[in-house]
């Protein structure tokens, strides 16, 4: 759906209850628990939106980063 490296999942730390449900469904393992805090590894995120729709407490949102101008090898 997306391209690696063009997306970021913003995490609302006040709303997030660290249930890690999103970690268990992220198809690229971009979301992970750093200790007891949820983090997103942007270069791995493909912007599929699954975690955003999954999050039971609506703590996640998807943001497009400024896309790289060209792909290295096209």
């Amino acid at each position: 759906m997306g391209r690696n490296g063009s997306f970021h999942i913003a995490i609302d730390d006040v709303t997030c209850v660290q249930c890690a449900g999103c970690v268990s469904i992220c198809p690229t393992e971009a979301l992970h628990m750093q200790g007891l805090t949820l983090e997103c590894h942007d270069p791995t995120c493909i912007g599929c939106d699954l975690c955003v729709r999954f999050c039971p407490v609506v703590a996640l949102s998807l943001h497009a980063l400024s896309a790289p101008p060209v792909r290295a090898e096209a």
Binding site: V17, C19, G21, S24, M33
Partner: protein, 396 residues
């Protein structure tokens, strides 16, 4: 570097019980828990089996028993319902204290438990064991290393150990429900039944539940099936549900998480390692429930892995005895529930109503010792011909 017989990741019911079982057989067991306190925070509906079933695993205590469950009611979207009175069929738990009691039982049997210990890697199986690495979160992330002959992943729904071992991957879309639960007060006192509500307006592809606790409180929650069509969050659905049915209640606590309805793992074991409990996909794929299943998988692991440790053969081939025992005890039934789950996803509201009415006929029949399966099948053929096709597709 320190070496132990068994290293267990996660001090939930599966981790604590398998640790206890192996320590009792004389092995040196080390159990790591990421959180500073076992059992906290609770991520569970807290409904488990009967007292007799629980007592098999742990001496009963009022400390963690919130009350009996004396039956169940299932409501279809139109309000049709089926009710079954089954005194003491289940037990409502204080899950935090339940987990703590299980961990205490393990520690008293000789298990060494360390909290605030995050595991980052489990190493390869070489020289008869694995090297586990992690960080002590209570000591500014001080590095941690330990060798173990046998590694057990009991790290729950989001199991990373299972992924590192190559035994499981992130769940495919649709295999995990997005679930949210409130602890509500001022829930009208009634029978101690668990109430389940199905229907697309309440919880698309899932169900809502009301599990009574103590002093007029109840766990009220729901899980929704995450698909491309889902437009609202679990929170939107639960807020609607609570506003309609419990307008006077206050929210005392919030629990969220993924409820998995997993397909059985092809393999729960590999060389020198195995998965127990939900990390090994042991929970019921239809209901999502997993406490009793986790304990049962831990018990089977205790027997089979204990024998493997004793004989010094920790090859995947030998550890598979555990999986065979699990399959015979619960796994095969779970495979059937997985098919039922896929059938349920295809139901529209009319078909859910029909299923509830049919269940009503089964329950009435069981009570009179005469279930009219032919009549139910006839009504399916005549009133819901599409349902038969859907069933054929989901079940075969």
């Amino acid at each position: 570097m320190r070496a132990v017989d068994v290293f267990v990741v996660g001090a939930g019911p599966a981790g604590s019980y398998v640790s206890y079982a192996l320590a009792k057989r004389g092995f040196e067991v080390f159990m790591a828990e990421k959180r500073p306190e076992v059992g906290v925070p609770v991520r569970c509906g807290e409904a488990a089996g009967s007292l007799a079933e629980l007592e098999h695993f742990l001496p009963l205590s009022d400390d963690w028993i919130a009350g009996p469950i004396d039956g169940a009611r299932l409501f279809g979207p139109s309000g049709v319902r089926v009710e079954r009175h089954m005194p003491g069929v289940g037990t409502q738990l204080h899950r935090d204290r339940f987990d703590q009691a299980l961990a205490r039982q393990a520690v008293e049997a000789g298990v060494e438990l360390q909290t605030s210990l995050q595991i980052d890697s489990v190493g390869a199986f070489e020289h008869g064991g694995r090297e586990v690495r992690g960080r002590n979160l209570a000591a500014a992330g001080a590095p941690f290393r330990m060798r173990a002959r046998l590694l057990l992943g009991a790290d729950g729904v989001e199991s990373l150990v299972g992924q590192w071992l190559g035994l499981r991957r992130a769940f495919p879309v649709g295999d995990v429900h997005s679930a949210l639960q409130y602890l509500l007060d001022q829930v009208p006192a009634g029978k101690r039944y668990i109430d389940l509500y199905a229907g697309h307006a309440v919880a698309p592809g899932g169900y809502a539940w009301v599990f009574p606790k103590q002093n007029g409180t109840a766990n009220v929650g729901l899980g929704v099936h995450v698909t491309a069509k889902l437009r609202r969050s679990a929170r939107d659905y639960l807020d609607d549900f609570v506003r309609t049915r419990f307008p006077d209640s206050r929210i005392l606590d919030v629990t969220a998480g993924g409820v998995s309805g997993p397909r059985s793992l092809k393999s729960m074991v590999t060389d020198g390692a195995a998965l127990v409990g939900e990390s090994g996909h042991t929970n019921n794929p239809f209901s999502g429930g997993g406490i009793m299943n986790a304990l049962e998988s831990a018990e089977e692991a205790g027997v089979a892995l204990g024998e493997a440790l004793r004989d010094g053969d920790l090859s995947a081939r030998r550890l598979r005895d555990y999986q065979k025992r699990w399959q015979a005890r619960v796994g095969r039934t779970n495979d059937l529930f997985f098919k039922l789950r896929n059938l349920f996803f295809r139901f529209d509201d009319h078909e859910i109503d029909w299923a509830v009415e049919s269940l009503q006929r089964v329950v009435a029949g069981v009570e009179q010792n005469n279930v009219d399966y032919t009549g139910i099948f006839r009504s399916a053929m005549l009133e819901h011909p599409k349902l038969v096709l859907k069933a054929a597709r989901a079940l075969w």
